[in-house]
Structures are given as structure tokens and as C-alpha cells.
């Protein structure tokens, strides 16, 4: 699915967080969004699946068009937008009282996507896609909180995949993980792009370089630059971009 962001302005109450963002995401690609803390990258990504409006006092102006449809149109409810977009959070958040299997099944189940045998198939497929199946296939009924940090995050990815989204949003998915788990998740991201449009927020520029086709740079709520990753890091167009990637400010 293609994503087209047009004149997006976002506020938390009175203070503005994003200024006039215009951006296009190509389908079936991985885009990394980088920028210093507080630059608005998390806020931006949360606007793509209308999670931002869950914050009290939050407001949005502008359009976000996914496959041509403006998801902020009046006739569209956030629920049905989120149903088509998978989200993975910074800290893995599996439902602690539920089993591994149930954690993955809950998405399709609530949305009425499948039941019975078809549901089992979806769960297995999602866990395989998330490269978690082999590790836990004998332990499906165990509580999700028994898994390690890296496994929990991959479980959350499987959970997101289970609702068969076209777009996957990841908000700093590896920041709470150890290097090995990080590596596993990064490999996973690279595989996912063959079937999904993936957007990854990261504060780790090397990670962006490793996994992303395109890279986007935000600074103080404004979109500064977007480019193919290689070109982005080797020949940045804007001065701010260059300052950031050379580490002049964190």
C-alpha cells in the first residue's frame, strides 16, 4: 500500500508537534525515520494509524492517504484504520495473562477474520513469519510473560502480522533489546518488506543504514530530508541532515 502524507500538522493540546509534513512512502519498502529525541518521529508514525488521537487533547490537521483514501475523512473510524495497520511498540507489550497462542490469535479473533482451523493456520503462519515459531512451537499454551525480551518483541511482531495488515509501523522496536535479539529483528524487517510496507522509527543511524531502503530525517517537528538510504548517508542534501549524521548533535 502506498502512503501519502499531505500537509500534516499535529498538536498536543496547544503545543504543535509536527509542522506541515509532506511525504510519500513507496509500497513494499522499508523506510527508516530518524531524528533526535523529541523531533516528532514517534508522533508522526502514530498519526499513520490514528493512535495519536488517543492522547487527551491531541489534534490533527491535514491528510493521510493510504491507497488513495484519506484515513482522516469524517466517515472513517480509527478502529478500521488500525485494523489494517500493524504496530510494534518500543517496549514489547504482550498481554501478560494470556498464552503465546492467544496473544497472536487475539487480533484476528476480535476482528472476526477467522476461527477454528483457519485461525490456527494464521497463528502458525504469523509466528513463522516473525521467526519465532521454531523456538516456541511446543510451548504455545505457556504464558507470554515467560518469554525473553527478544522473543516477546517478535511475538508482538507476530501479533501485528496476524491481522494481515499491509503496512507495519515500528516505533524503535529494538531499543530495549540485546544485540542478538536486535540482529534477529533487523533480519526480520528485511524479510518483511517483500510483503509489507514497513516504517521503522529508530534513533540508531547504523540500524537505518542496515535495514532501510529509504531514510527520512525529522528535526523539531519538521521533515528535513528524505532520500534513498545510501544517498542519504553519503550525500545528504541539507545541512541539518549532515550535522545530525555526523554527530554534531545527538
Amino acid at each position: 500500500m502506498s502512503i501519502q502524507v499531505e500537509n500534516l500538522n499535529v498538536w498536543y493540546g496547544r503545543s504543535q508537534a509536527l509542522y506541515n509534513v509532506n511525504l510519500i512512502f513507496e509500497p513494499l519498502s522499508v523506510t527508516a525515520i530518524i531524528g533526535p529525541s523529541g523531533c516528532g518521529k514517534s508522533t508522526f508514525v502514530r498519526c499513520l494509524n490514528r493512535m495519536h488521537e488517543e492522547v487527551p487533547g491531541a489534534s490533527v490537521a491535514g491528510e493521510v492517504r493510504i491507497d488513495g483514501v484519506n484515513i482522516y475523512a469524517r466517515s472513517i473510524q480509527p478502529m478500521y484504520v488500525r485494523r489494517h495497520i500493524g504496530m510494534v511498540f518500543q517496549r514489547s507489550n504482550p498481554l501478560p495473562n494470556r498464552s503465546i497462542w492467544e496473544n497472536v490469535a487475539i487480533g484476528p479473533r476480535i476482528n472476526g477474520l477467522a476461527g477454528g482451523a483457519a485461525l490456527k493456520e494464521i497463528v502458525e503462519r504469523s509466528l513463522k513469519q516473525a521467526a519465532l515459531w521454531d523456538e516456541i512451537k511446543d510451548r504455545l499454551s505457556e504464558s507470554a510473560s515467560q518469554l525473553s525480551g527478544g522473543q516477546q518483541q517478535r511475538l508482538c511482531i507476530a501479533r501485528a502480522l496476524a491481522i494481515e495488515p499491509k503496512i507495519i509501523l515500528m516505533d524503535e522496536p529494538c531499543s530495549a533489546l540485546d544485540p542478538i535479539s536486535t540482529f534477529q529483528v533487523e533480519e526480520l524487517i528485511k524479510q518483511l518488506k517483500s510483503a509489507y510496507t514497513v516504517i521503522v522509527v529508530t534513533h540508531n543511524m547504523q540500524q537505518a543504514g542496515r535495514v532501510a531502503d529509504n531514510t527520512v530525517f525529522f528535526l523539531q517537528g519538521k521533515l528535513i530530508e528524505k532520500n534513498k538510504t545510501e544517498k542519504f548517508f553519503s550525500h545528504p542534501e541539507k545541512k541539518e541532515t549532515e550535522d545530525y549524521i555526523t554527530g554534531r548533535f545527538s
Binding site: 483514501v69 473510524q77 478500521y80 476480535i110 472476526g112
Partner: protein, 298 residues
């Protein structure tokens, strides 16, 4: 209109799907909203109805006599609840004398000194104390004071009420004392003050508002208590400030008059209830306001 909608849903995956499952989801959501709204409305309505009813029934009988005269015999008109109000004041005062120091210092212990399993045990016991029905403390005072003295007394009532105050004061004091920043204590100690001085002259004053709030809360609580007074203070239709004798209290008088065959006394029961409720409401508001409870939370 319908063609536009249909065209949209064909190309628009974000439109709500027209499935039975989906209709059910929407319906459940609405049912829950409706039901929870109903529940809240019930609770709010009951309270407002109660308050307004007492207001309407009691207000006409609020007059100066209520606060200056004692009850008339046999429900003759006139008369008032002056002795009950006086009795309540004395009893609450007595209870405070007993309950505030015990409660406050228990709070100080739990916050400043208590460590390890003993403190946990004490805290647990104090918490459990709040759940004991107040009539039990009346029984205690009855056996301990009334029976040996062969007389109902305000003292017994005050003791029973005082015990009720202890856990309330203890827990609220402990909580506000804990909130005092560690740095404040350390600064005081670093200046050479002793531990006792630090607590008495630095920590407690810092937590003063919260402590006072807890005390006022406890006093308002016991001001409305009836059960423990039944067998201790017992009640009296006359003025009495001798704590070794039976003493009246507003809730006792309300209890007495509510079941009276005389309409005049029933009216005064309502009037007394109104006085009591207004007192409690004012206290609740004051406490809320003092602790900033009117600020938005979420």
C-alpha cells in the same frame, strides 16, 4: 447517497465492513457504554435524591431552637437538639484526645522508624482495624468501662470513637509523611539537628496539611457514628457535660427520633440529619479542596 457509499467501500478498505460480526462488535460496545452510564446515573441519582429529600424534610425545622433547646417530652412541639449537638462535640473532642496522638505517632512510627517485617505487621494490623465494624469497639468499651462502672458514660463513648479514629489518622499521616522528600531530612541532619528534632520541627510541619486533613477526616467520620455509642454513651434527653454520665449525641438522637411515633420528633430527626449531612459535606469539600482533589487526573 447510497451509491457513493457503495463505491467507497468497494475501493475503500477502511470503511466499516458490513458483517454480522462487526454489527455485534458495535452493539456490544454501545451496550456497555449504555449500561455503565446507567450504573453511574443510578449512583448519582440515589445520592442526590437522598440529599434533596433530607433537605426538603429537614429544612423547615431548622431554627434557633434546634440549637438551643433540649428535646421536649412526648413529642410536644418546640424543643431542639442542643444537648445532642453539645454531646457530639464533647464526644468527638474526647475521641480526638485519645485517637489523634495514638494515630499520629503510629503514623510517625510507620513512616520514620518502622522497618522490616514488624512494621509491615503493624501496618497490616492497622489496615485491618479499619474494616472492623464500629459496634465492636462499642462492645469493647461497654465491657471495659461501662460494666465495671455500672453506668453508661461519655468517657466510654469517647474511647470507642477514639479507637475508630486511630487507623484513619495513622494511615493518612504515614502517607503524607512518606511524601516529605528525603533531602529535607538529610539537610536537617546535616545541619546537626537530632533525629527527633528533625521529625518534630522539619518533617511534621512539612506534612502538616496532610496530617490535618487526615485528622479532620477522622473527626468527621466519628461524628456520624451511632452504633458504638448505643451501649457506651447511651444517650440522654438532657444537657450533660459530665463524661462519667450518659451523654447524648446527634446520631443517637436521630436514631431515637426516626422510629418515634410522634411526627414532631420525626421532623427533628430530619433536621438533625440535615445538620449532620451539611457538616459532613462541608468537611468533604474542604478536604478535597485542600488536597487539590479537584485538579484533573486523567
Amino acid at each position: 447517497m447510497s451509491t457513493v457509499v457503495e463505491k467507497q467501500s468497494a475501493a475503500n478498505p477502511f470503511q466499516a465492513p458490513r458483517t454480522a460480526q462487526n454489527a455485534r462488535r458495535k452493539a456490544s460496545n454501545i451496550v456497555i457504554i449504555f449500561f455503565s452510564l446507567l450504573a453511574t446515573a443510578f449512583a448519582v441519582t440515589v445520592l442526590l435524591y437522598l440529599l434533596l429529600y433530607v433537605l426538603r424534610s429537614g429544612l423547615p425545622y431548622i431554627n434557633v431552637a434546634l440549637f438551643t433547646r433540649i428535646p421536649t417530652p412526648n413529642g410536644e412541639p418546640g424543643g431542639g437538639l442542643a444537648n445532642s449537638i453539645q454531646g457530639s462535640l464533647i464526644l468527638v473532642g474526647l475521641a480526638s484526645l485519645f485517637g489523634i496522638p495514638l494515630g499520629l505517632f503510629t503514623g510517625i512510627y510507620l513512616s520514620e522508624f518502622g522497618r522490616g517485617p514488624i512494621a509491615t505487621g503493624v501496618r497490616f494490623l492497622v489496615d485491618v482495624l479499619t474494616g472492623i465494624p464500629t459496634i465492636i469497639f462499642g462492645l469493647f468499651a461497654w465491657i471495659f468501662i461501662v460494666v465495671p462502672q455500672q453506668s453508661f458514660s461519655g468517657l466510654a463513648g469517647g474511647v470507642a470513637l477514639g479507637i475508630i479514629m486511630i487507623p484513619i489518622v495513622a494511615r493518612t499521616s504515614e502517607e503524607v509523611l512518606r511524601l516529605v522528600p528525603k533531602e529535607l531530612r538529610e539537610a536537617s541532619l546535616a545541619l546537626g539537628a537530632t533525629e527527633s528534632r528533625t521529625i518534630l520541627q522539619v518533617v511534621i510541619p512539612a506534612a502538616r496539611n496532610g496530617i490535618i486533613t487526615g485528622i479532620v477526616l477522622a473527626m468527621a467520620r466519628v461524628a456520624g457514628e451511632t452504633a458504638p455509642l448505643l451501649m457506651t454513651a447511651f444517650g440522654s434527653p438532657f444537657f450533660n457535660s459530665d463524661i462519667t454520665q450518659p451523654m447524648d449525641a446527634l446520631p443517637l438522637r436521630i436514631f431515637n427520633f426516626a422510629e418515634s411515633p410522634y411526627q414532631a420528633q420525626i421532623n427533628q430527626a430530619y433536621a438533625g440529619s440535615l445538620v449532620l449531612i451539611v457538616l459532613i459535606l462541608l468537611t468533604s469539600f474542604a478536604i478535597r479542596w485542600a488536597t487539590g482533589g479537584f485538579k484533573q487526573q486523567r
